[in-house]
Symmetry: C2
Subunit: 226 residues, 2 copies
DNA sequence: TGTAAATGGATTATGTGTAATTTGAATTGG
DNA sequence: CCAATTCAAATTACACATAATCCATTTACA
C-alpha cells in the first residue's frame, strides 16, 4: 500500500466524473481507483481517520456507502476490505458494460450535435499526442471519450452504473501499462466511431462501438492472465 | 407512513432474496420494499433508532449503505429520504431489466436441469391457485419465478443488479393491486417460457421472456400514469 | 520432540452518549 | 404583507466503553 495522497488529474470535459460532495468518500474512492488501495487491502478505520484527518465515524459511513456501491466488502466484526477484483470480476464487469454501452450510445447517436463531435475530436487529438509513458492519462482520455457520449443520457441510473463499472475496471487495471499496439488500435476504433457519427451512419457507429468494447475486453483479459 | 413493523413473507425458494446479515439494513430495505416508507419520506435517524431499538450510528451506517445502493438519497445537513422513485425512474428501471434479463436468462437456457423446471412449475402452480386479492403474494411469486432462473448465474454483480432493480420496482408498485387480466397474462407468459424450456427451444424461451418483460413494463406504466 | 490446542494481550470494530453546527419554520416587528 | 429573528429539532462529528478478532506464544499430549 502506497501512502501518497492521491490527486486525480482532471481534464476539461472530465471534471464531473469524480466529483462528490462528501470529501472523505471521494478521496477513498479516488485512492481505490488509483490503485493506492488495491483489491483485498484492509481499510482500517483508525488509520483512515488519521490519513484524512477526521474522526472514525465519517470514515465508517464513507466505507458503508462504498460497500453499498460494491467497491468494498466487509465482514461482521472484522472490518472492511477493498472488494475482490479478480479476473472473474473483470469478465463480469466487461459483460455488463457490453450490455450498457450500446444502450447508452444508441441515445447519443440520435441526439449528438456538431459541438459534441468537436469535443470528441479534441479528446481523440489529445490521445494521439500523448507520450508513450502516459498510460494513466491515456486510459483517462479513453474513458472521457465515452463519458462525453453517455453523460447526458436520460437514464441516470444506467449512466451511474456505467461509471461504477468503469471505476472498477480502472481499479483492476491499476498502473498496468498499455501496449503501444493496443493504444493505436484504441485510437483507430475511436476514430471509426467518430467518423461513423460524422457521416451520420448510426448503425455503423453502434457496431464500431461494440467491436471497440469487445476488443478492449479481449486485450485486458489476456494481459491480466499472466 | 405506516408504523407496522414489516414481516417479509418467504416462500420456499425465495428465502435468500431478502437475506442480509445486517439486521437494521435488512429491516429498512424490507420496509421500503413493502411501501411502509414511500418515495420521498424522510428517514429521521433518531426516530429509526427508537423504532429498531438501537442507537443512531448503526442507523446512519445502514442508511449510507442504502444510499450507495440507490434506495436512499441524502443532502448534506438535511438528512436522508427514500429515493425519488418517479415514473421516469420506472422507465429507467425497466430498461435496465430489459438489458439484464435476457443476458441472465441466456445462461439459464444452457444449464437448467429437470429439477429446476419442476420448481418453476411449482411456482407457476402457486400463482394459478392464489385468490384474487393476494396481490403482494402474486408479485412475490412472479419475482420468485425469475429469481429461480437467475440466482445461479456466474455474474454475481449482474444478479445483484437485477435484485436491486426488482426491489425498486416493488417499492414503486407498493400495494397497487394487479388487474386479474394482467395476472392471467403474466401466468400465460410464464407458461410460454416454461414450455419453451421443456421443449428445449432456447431461442423461443428468450423471445418469450423479452415479450414478458416488455408487456409487464407497458402494463405498469399505464397503471401508474393515472 | 513434534504437533495441535489453548491462552493471553494487543488491535480493531461496534455501539452509546454528548457537544456543536445547521436547518427550517414559526414568531415577531416594521 | 413581507422581512428579520428566534428557537426547537435534527444532523454531524467526536470521545469513550465494550466486545470481538487476530496473532504470537505457551502449554499439553501423543
Amino acid at each position: 500500500m502506497n501512502w501518497v495522497v492521491s490527486n486525480m488529474p482532471a481534464s476539461e470535459y472530465f471534471k464531473d466524473f469524480f466529483q462528490h460532495e462528501n470529501k472523505v468518500y471521494a478521496q477513498i474512492l479516488a485512492d481505490i481507483a488509483q490503485g493506492i488501495y488495491v483489491s483485498g487491502d484492509r481499510l482500517v478505520t483508525t488509520a483512515l481517520a488519521k490519513r484524512y484527518s477526521t474522526s472514525i465515524n465519517p470514515i465508517r459511513e464513507a466505507i458503508k456507502q462504498l460497500e453499498g456501491e460494491g467497491f468494498v466488502t466487509s465482514q461482521k466484526n472484522s472490518g472492511a476490505r477493498v472488494a475482490n477484483f479478480s479476473q472473474a470480476t473483470m469478465r463480469d464487469v466487461f459483460e455488463i458494460l457490453q450490455l450498457l454501452e450500446p444502450y447508452l450510445f444508441d441515445w447519443y447517436t440520435q441526439r449528438y450535435t456538431q459541438d459534441c463531435l468537436l469535443k470528441l475530436n479534441d479528446v481523440l487529438h489529445q490521445m494521439r499526442s500523448l507520450s508513450a509513458d502516459e498510460h494513466m492519462k491515456f486510459r483517462e482520455l479513453d474513458t472521457e471519450f465515452h463519458w462525453l457520449m453517455y453523460k447526458h443520457h436520460y437514464n441516470k441510473s444506467a449512466v451511474q452504473l456505467w461509471k461504477k463499472n468503469k471505476l472498477i475496471l480502472q481499479a483492476l487495471h491499476g498502473n498496468i501499462p498499455i501496449s503501444l499496439a493496443r493504444r493505436q488500435h484504441a485510437i483507430d476504433e475511436h476514430e471509426k466511431i467518430l467518423s461513423a457519427l460524422v457521416n451520420k451512419k448510426p448503425q455503423d457507429a453502434i457496431q464500431a462501438l461494440q467491436d471497440h468494447i469487445t476488443l478492449g475486453g479481449q486485450y485486458w483479459s489476456k494481459v491480466l492472465v499472466q
